[in-house]
């Protein structure tokens, strides 16, 4: 391979990596907004509609809020660049935001637009230099990029706190499972007019999400009596899930809600086997 071809290939690979990063960033940010809106509007999930790459000038993520008395359109443009400018004229960010604003004014519906950036310097620069005509309806938001969705879950405090509000358990592995389920469910749609209720139903259906339930749930009396008699074994119901500890070494939890058929089957097995020690019980609860 000659020098020129090598340079071309390097640039092509770099371009691919940048595209991949941009794609991962968009999906991770969509997850973040999904978490925010599920926390804020848990009673109105069918009235929050997510779309991506919709028709418009600001098109990375579009959220239509149809909650009565709070209807609005929210547009997001995402940038992971290390250098960014508002620019002038067609094709510039300034032009795109201006055109989106003009379109929305004609629709006579409340709206807001967001420029979401990952870089600290870009964030400060774009805030300082925002054109006067855009100031009323454009916000600059910083959403850092931690390199992967896993890292966001573990180390992005705001992201983690949001996930923790929806997850029955606060361990990173459970938060990671919940967020990945949201990511997978959103990623599996065509991303056109998807109500949050559809995403949450999909997440529940996957069965590894540890999505917190607010419904009161209890074990059957007989199950509770058997478990209470086992030396060193403690248990409770956390966010709808069975959580247990044994001695100071063992702990675990079910991935099924206590009121689910799967967990009821486990209860049936506990009642039928009537374990007297943790060693006897462990085989039964290891499959949940």
């Amino acid at each position: 391979m000659d020098k020129r071809t090598k340079v071309y290939l390097t640039n092509k690979q770099r371009g691919g990596e940048v595209n991949q990063r941009g794609n991962d960033y968009e999906l991770t940010f969509a997850c973040y907004r999904i978490l925010q809106f599920v926390v804020r509007h848990s009673e109105n999930l069918q009235r929050i509609i997510f779309s991506s790459q919709c028709q418009g000038f600001i098109d990375d993520l579009f959220i239509e809020v149809k909650v009565p008395g709070n209807e609005k359109d929210l547009f997001h443009q995402l940038k992971t660049s290390q250098v960014l400018n508002w620019g002038n004229g067609e094709g510039s960010l300034s032009y795109d935001f201006d055109q989106q604003g003009k379109m929305q004014k004609k629709r006579n519906k409340p709206y807001h637009t967001y420029l979401v950036v990952s870089n600290d310097g870009v964030y400060l620069h774009m805030r300082r230099r925002i054109p006067r005509k855009l100031r009323k309806y454009v916000s600059i938001e910083k959403f850092p990029w931690f390199g992967s969705l896993n890292a966001h879950c573990a180390y992005h405090l705001q992201f983690r706190q949001l996930a923790a509000q929806l997850c029955a358990f606060q361990d990173t592995d459970k938060l990671d499972a919940l967020v990945k389920c949201i990511y997978a469910c959103w990623g599996a749609t065509d991303k056109k007019n998807i109500p949050l209720s559809q995403i949450l139903n999909c997440v529940r259906g996957i069965g590894y999400a540890y999505l917190k339930s607010t419904l009161p749930m209890i074990l059957r009396d007989r199950t509770a009596a058997i478990l209470q008699a086992i030396p060193g074994f403690r248990f409770n119901i956390t966010g709808g899930y069975f959580y247990w500890t044994f001695s100071n070494t063992d702990r675990g939890q079910s991935r099924y809600l206590v009121n689910s058929p799967e967990f009821r089957n486990i209860e049936n097995e506990i009642i039928a086997e009537n374990p007297a020690t943790f060693n006897d019980l462990e085989l039964i609860i290891s499959s949940i």
Binding site: G147, A151, A154, D176, K180, A184, N279, S286
Partner: protein, 234 residues
């Protein structure tokens, strides 16, 4: 294409054990025994490079590795009179949407011996490919303990495993990683298995069936040590 480390290149024993894993005619007992011996060899290499004398060590693994690879390391730690605590995790390993980039490995159950201090964490795994299980377990442990070094120990790694794993952690954690391994492979098949790797799915080769059914297996080293711990804490 497989690349052997210098240690493996100079050891007939290690190369023979790696070949046994690949060989489909190796039965369950021989397969498990090979992992046990590889655990001993991996720890011998670790000791050639680092001194663990007078230190407190935590050895962490997944349940399916506990009685073989991990036991080999644990026996060598005991023979070296190193104060060791054991942590075993039952991970539920799933690729969401059948996409390896959407791998999760939530911990459904854990056995962790209590300690006030850990100088070195040794985390072992039969093979490290996507790093999902290892990443999950290191994250879990390092949220409560702060070891000076984290030894990631495995007979076989996929070629991108080291940079992939490092990229998942902030520098203050990834800078503690030391990788001890014997072979690096660069091929993956449609079932997301490294080729030649460890000769297929470790669950199936050990007779533990799949990612779900293997979680019903309670390792003997857990049963033995838990019993001692429980009696001591009574």
């Amino acid at each position: 294409m497989r690349k052997l480390t210098t240690y493996a290149q100079h050891s007939d024993q290690v190369r023979g054990l790696l070949e046994k894993l690949i060989d489909k005619s190796t039965d369950e007992q021989q397969y498990a025994a090979s992992f046990y011996e590889l655990g001993r060899e991996l720890f011998a290499e670790l000791l050639q490079k680092f001194t663990l004398r007078n230190s407190k060590v935590m050895l962490a693994c997944s349940s399916e590795d506990a009685d073989w690879l991990s036991k080999g390391i644990l026996d060598k730690l005991n023979e070296s009179h190193i104060d060791t605590k054991l942590a075993v995790f039952w991970n539920l390993r799933v690729n969401l949407n059948n996409d390896a980039n959407l791998a999760i490995a939530p911990i459904t159950k854990s056995y962790i011996e209590q300690t006030d201090k850990v100088d070195y964490l040794i985390i072992c795994k039969s093979i490290i490919s996507s790093s999902c299980v290892v990443r999950t377990n290191i994250t879990y442990i390092t949220e409560t303990i702060d070891p000076a070094k984290i030894f990631v120990v495995s007979p076989v790694l996929f070629e991108k495993a080291i940079p992939n794993l490092k990229s998942e952690f902030p520098f203050k954690i990834s800078s503690k990683f030391e990788f001890i391994y014997f072979a690096e492979d660069d091929e993956i098949n449609e079932s997301h298995e490294v080729i030649p790797g460890i000769g297929g799915s470790v669950y199936k080769r050990l007779g533990l069936e799949d990612s779900f059914k293997k979680n019903r297996y309670i390792p003997t080293i857990v049963k033995e040590r838990r019993s001692t711990n429980f009696e001591a804490n009574k």
